[in-house]
Every structure is written in structure tokens, then in C-alpha cells.
């Protein structure tokens, strides 16, 4: 495993990264419980992808850069400043949801304050948007970059192609990170694409491409950091493929046992970035038993409070239906 010291990351940094990953995981687990208890109608899960999400977000300038996260990016948005309470408000579709005021489903992120572009449900539309932000950064000599994620299945949409090509032609400061979790709902990778690596698509755009272990947050951090440097130096966009595995069903509406086996999942769990990174931190003596139990307890408390607050919070009121169609 890459050493965090070599990446100029402090022990506090990696502990914080782990805390964010763990928060995303525990939040996700809680929403499954809430869903099964009939308290929230829907969820879409990040389990198995926390490492790449937090590793990537950590490599950004979180005071400057623009992001267009996709629906699984709980790790990304937590790292960028969305709180557990914000996300719980979203899960419960409450008025206090900062993403959409309860208008959109969970996982549809967005916050102008956080320079996080509002996302929709049709996949891949965010790629051209992020490219447009990159164009605007370039036009305005803004020393910021534009970071966008999507699933590997979504790279087959025309908008991926058109957006990536546009970014490459204009050498825009854009990072496209593909979170390859091996499935597009039920469709396995080999029925989605025939190329060896999704990052091979970069060649056809004339941009930098690289495939990395998405289970290793440090590898992702490193790749995104370098991509960011290239972007700021005017060397153009990058296509980074982070490979992991979707550990849960696609969403609370899915039954993944209709198309894959428990053995396959169990095998993937051995690579789960949350656990391997935990082991790394334990071995380095950064994560002690005490720190870990305090961390778990704090996260649990935060999630409990958020759940309680969200349960109590009001829904958007009926008259607001008509607001915000036009300015």
C-alpha cells in the first residue's frame, strides 16, 4: 500500500479520511434500516465506494473547486461539507434538505454554497455541466478545477463522449472520475463495455487516462491530486477510473440476488476499502482501539441526532409547490 506520508498527508488527515468513510458507511447502513422500517421510501447506497469518494474529495481544493457528484457520492459530499443532518433531511424529504428542499430523491446532491452542482436522475448529464464549469474557470482565469463523477455504466451515454471530447479539445481543467463498481443495476461490466479499461477511452479524446484501485483512498488521492495539478497547469482534463465493487443492492428497490451470487459479494467484501484502510491505519498505529470506539460512538450519536431531527422536521408546505419554476 502507498504510504500516506509520501503523499504529504498527516496522520490527522488519514484519520479524518477514515472518519468520513466510516460516516458514509454508517449513514448508509442506517438508511437501509429506516427504509426497511418503512420510514423512508427510497435510498441509493454508497457501500463499497467510500474509499474512492473520500480519497478523491480530499485531493480537491475544497474552498475553490467545483464538483458535480453523482448519486452514490455520500463520501464526496460529506468530505465537501454536507452534514449528516443535511443528508438525513434529504433522506426524509424534509424542507430543511439543503440539496433540494425535499423535492428530489436521496442522492441528488447540490449546493451553491459548496460549489456543488445540482444533479438530476438521468445519468451522465452532469458531465457536460462540469465541462462547462471548466470552460468558465478557464475563461475567468479562476484557479479552480471542475470535478465530476459517474458510474462505469453511465460512460456509455452520449453525454460522456460529448462532454469528454469538448473538455479535451479546449484543454479544460476538468477531472472525470468513473466509479467502476462492476454493475449498472443488474448488468455486469462485460455486458456494458468490451474495452479493457474504461480509462482507455481517454486515448480517443486525447486526454490523460488512468485506472486505479478504487478501494485504496490513498491511490485515489494521489491520482486526483496529480490530475488536479495537470488541470491547473493547463495540461487539460483527465479520465480517472477507480475500480471497486457495489456491496449492496443497487437501491432499496432492487433485489440483487436475481442477478448475482452471495459468494461474489462475500469475495468482494474482502477488498472493501473501508476495511483495508482501517487495517492500514491500525497497522500504522494511527487508529487505536480507543480512537476507533470514540469515533464510532461519535458517528452513531451524530446519526441518531440527525435521524431524530429529520423525523421531527416539517415537510415542505403545500404552497411551495409553485415556487421556483422561474425567477
Amino acid at each position: 500500500m502507498i504510504n500516506h506520508e509520501d503523499l504529504q498527508l498527516t496522520d490527522d488527515d488519514v484519520l479524518e479520511m477514515y472518519r468520513l468513510m466510516l460516516t458514509a458507511r454508517r449513514f448508509d447502513e442506517r438508511t437501509w434500516l429506516l427504509n426497511r422500517a418503512g420510514k423512508i421510501p427510497f435510498l441509493v447506497s454508497c457501500q463499497g465506494q467510500e474509499a474512492q469518494q473520500v480519497g478523491a474529495a480530499y485531493a480537491l481544493d475544497r474552498e475553490r473547486d467545483y464538483t458535480a457528484p453523482y448519486y452514490r457520492d455520500f463520501g464526496v459530499v460529506l468530505a465537501l461539507g454536507m452534514t449528516v443532518k443535511d443528508l438525513m433531511m434529504q433522506a426524509f424529504a424534509k424542507a430543511a434538505d439543503p440539496n433540494s428542499g425535499g423535492r428530489q430523491m436521496p442522492g441528488h446532491f447540490g449546493s451553491k454554497r459548496l460549489r456543488m452542482l445540482s444533479g438530476s436522475s438521468p445519468v451522465t448529464t452532469q458531465v457536460p455541466h462540469a465541462v462547462g464549469v471548466g470552460l468558465a474557470c478557464q475563461m475567468n482565469n479562476d484557479q479552480a478545477i471542475s470535478f465530476v463523477t459517474l458510474g462505469e455504466g453511465s460512460t456509455n451515454q452520449g453525454d460522456f463522449h460529448e462532454g469528454a471530447n469538448f473538455a479535451a479539445v479546449h484543454k479544460l481543467p476538468v477531472i472525470i472520475m468513473v466509479e467502476n463498481n462492476q454493475y449498472a443495476i443488474s448488468v455486469p461490466l462485460n455486458k456494458q463495455v468490451a474495452c479493457e479499461k474504461i480509462s482507455d477511452r481517454a486515448i480517443g479524446y486525447g486526454m490523460y487516462g488512468e485506472t486505479i484501485d478504487g478501494n485504496n483512498p490513498l491511490a485515489v488521492y494521489q491520482a486526483i491530486k496529480k490530475a488536479r495539478d495537470r488541470a491547473l497547469k493547463g495540461e487539460g482534463p483527465s479520465l480517472i477510473e477507480a475500480v471497486s465493487y457495489r456491496l449492496t443492492a443497487h437501491s432499496s428497490d432492487d433485489d440483487d440476488m436475481t442477478y448475482r451470487t452471495q459468494e461474489e459479494i462475500d469475495q468482494a467484501k474482502e477488498q472493501d476499502g473501508l476495511h483495508t484502510f482501517r487495517q492500514y491505519l491500525v497497522k500504522k498505529n494511527i487508529l487505536t482501539d480507543q480512537i476507533e470506539s470514540e469515533m464510532e460512538a461519535a458517528i452513531k450519536a451524530e446519526i441518531n441526532q440527525a435521524t431524530e431531527a429529520a423525523e421531527k422536521a416539517p415537510y415542505p408546505s403545500v404552497e411551495t409547490l409553485y415556487d421556483g419554476v422561474y425567477q
Binding site: K94, G102, S154, S186, T258, L321
Partner: protein, 328 residues
């Protein structure tokens, strides 16, 4: 006869057509092993194999475009769009290609594709899993748009769509999938595309609708007959494009008081055209302004239950509009 749900009727229509004709095949996202996210293609992968029930890459323009190509060759594709909201990346293939192929080739080539897509709200689907998309396509000669209101209609209309020599958009209401159940004949029933269906004769008011809303209208019509002695004439459009003008005109003239119902946003909806047809042909037969009951002109229904409910046309709103018109 056996009692089938709306989605079972759809599954059965495809199964029967695939058994009947080897050229019929299905393509779409998760239609294979998974049997569709709503399970409309349940069992078909097992029965017909992965060559006839194709899990495609996630790319709607290709799903439709590849389907059109296969149709040009002589195959009969059924393309599933996972949610009607996600048909938009395929609009160019549908409008520029499928709809115009016959015309532009002077009747040489054709594109007998059926494009199925679940539409409609009331399922906590939020902005992008709740929309009615028919109006976007309901101005494209060469296309047909079918929206069934019951299991029996769903089966008979889908079979007709599959056999239709021209492209058909087939929108299925996702809330109807498991809500509606009825006896469906085991015979090979085809219900003609392009014809509206007079589902109830009445003398007080005329209500014209389609899809799930039509189902509610039928139920309310029965309630009003007993509760208020209001006798409702009900026309199910079934095919929302091109419209069955003669049936609309006749239904409007029957009572002279017309209510049109859709769950789509109001401005620019299917019922606007229905209203225009009536205003053009039956003006002097009308005893009341032509009423339209529709969703509000906000982009789509939100996720929060308060807002979803406020948006959605429901039985209460329909009933009130019918009573108001009867009293006019």
C-alpha cells in the same frame, strides 16, 4: 379468462408475441436476468434466451437506434426504456428517425418498433421518475402513442402495437402496474390502435381521459351515478396520438359539457389538442366551457409527500370537477 394485473397483462402480451413470431425480440436496460426493474419482462430471458431478451449498455439513444436498425432489417423490436423520463436521450432517434423513416424513403423503408416506457406519478418517484412524457411526442406525424388504462387494454393494445407496421410509443402507468387487476381473455385479442373507446354511456357530462386517470374517472362515474344521479359519458382515448377525432367529436356532442383529464402539466398537454378539436367542430353543441383538469405548470412532482400529493390529479379532484361541471 383469468384475472391479471396490468403488468402481468403486459408481460403476457410480449410472451405471446414472442412465441408467435421469432422476429420479435426485446432490448433494454435490465430486461434480461433481472426481468426488468418493474419485472415486466419477468421469465422471458429464461424462456427465450439472451439473444432475444437483450440487456443493453446504459444508452437510450442506442436502444432505440439499434432497434430501428434491426426493424429496418425485418426484425420486430420491443425496446424498453426503464422510466419514461429517461426517453429524452432517445428523442432524436424517435422523432428524426423512427417517425420519419417511412415518409422520407417514400414508403420504401419502415420501422415497426414498439417502445415501452413506464410513466406517471404517485409512487414517490420525485421529479424524474414520475413524469408524463407523451406531449413531447404528440406532434410528430409518423408516430403513434398508446396509453392503456386497464389490464385488458394493456394486453390487447400492446399486442397490436407489436404487430403495427409503424413505430409505437407505449406508455404504461407504473402505479397501475400492480394497482389494476381484471379479467383478461385468454384469446389472442388485438385492440385497434387509433380508436378511442367509449367505456360508459351517459347523458349529463362527457369526460375524456386516458391512462390511470381514465381508471379513476370510470370509478367516479359509477359513484356519481348512485350518489348524485349524475350520468357520465366516458371516453378513453387509448391512442393519444394521432387522436380519434370522430370519437372525440361524438362524445362531446353527446352531452355538450366536457371535462378533459390528464395527470400531465396542463399547458401543452394532450387534452389541449382534444379541447381544440372540440372547439373547432362542436362549438354550437356546447353548454359549458371545455374544462381541463391537469397537473399544475411546475416542472414535475417533487419527492416530498406533501408536494407530490398537491401536484397529482387524484380521485377527489376529479370528482369535484365532474360535480362542478354537472352543476354548470
Amino acid at each position: 379468462m383469468s384475472v391479471l394485473s396490468y403488468i402481468e397483462a403486459i408481460q403476457l402480451a410480449m410472451k405471446e408475441e414472442m412465441e408467435r413470431d421469432e422476429k420479435v425480440f426485446i432490448l433494454g436496460e435490465d430486461v434480461g436476468k433481472r426481468g426488468g426493474v418493474f419485472r415486466a419482462t419477468d421469465g422471458l430471458y429464461e424462456q427465450f434466451g439472451e439473444k432475444r431478451v437483450i440487456d443493453t449498455p446504459l444508452a437510450e439513444s442506442a436502444i432505440v437506434g439499434v432497434g430501428i436498425g434491426a426493424a429496418m432489417y425485418g426484425m420486430i423490436p420491443i425496446a424498453e426504456i426503464q422510466f419514461a423520463d429517461f426517453i429524452l436521450p432517445a428523442v432524436n432517434q424517435i422523432i428524426s428517425e423512427a417517425a420519419k423513416l417511412r415518409y422520407r424513403s417514400n414508403n420504401d423503408w419502415s420501422s415497426p418498433i414498439t417502445i415501452r416506457a413506464p410513466y406517471g406519478g404517485g409512487v414517490h418517484g420525485a421529479l424524474y421518475h414520475s413524469q408524463s412524457m407523451e406531449a413531447i411526442f404528440a406532434n410528430q406525424p409518423g408516430l403513434k402513442i398508446v396509453m392503456p388504462s386497464s389490464p385488458r387494454d394493456a394486453k390487447g393494445l400492446l399486442k397490436a402495437a407489436i404487430r403495427d407496421p409503424d413505430p409505437v410509443l407505449f406508455f404504461e402507468h407504473k402505479r397501475a402496474y400492480r394497482l389494476l387487476k381484471e379479467e383478461v381473455p385468454e384469446t389472442d385479442e388485438l385492440i385497434p390502435i387509433g380508436k378511442a373507446n367509449l367505456v360508459r354511456e351517459g347523458s349529463d357530462i362527457t369526460v375524456i381521459s386516458y391512462g390511470l386517470m381514465l381508471h379513476y374517472v370510470k370509478e367516479i362515474a359509477n359513484e356519481l351515478a348512485t350518489e348524485k344521479e349524475i350520468d357520465v359519458h366516458v371516453l378513453d382515448l387509448r391512442t393519444v396520438y394521432p387522436l380519434d377525432q370522430a370519437a372525440i367529436i361524438q362524445a362531446a356532442k353527446q352531452t355538450g359539457k366536457v371535462l378533459l383529464v390528464t395527470e400531465d402539466n396542463k399547458e401543452g398537454s394532450i387534452i389541449s389538442e382534444v379541447s381544440a378539436i372540440i372547439a373547432e367542430h362542436c362549438l354550437f353543441d356546447l353548454d359549458a366551457p371545455i374544462q381541463r383538469l391537469a397537473g399544475p405548470d411546475v416542472p414535475a412532482m417533487p419527492y416530498a409527500p406533501t408536494l407530490e400529493k398537491e401536484f397529482m390529479v387524484n380521485k377527489d379532484k376529479i370528482k369535484q370537477a365532474m360535480i362542478d361541471l354537472a352543476l354548470f
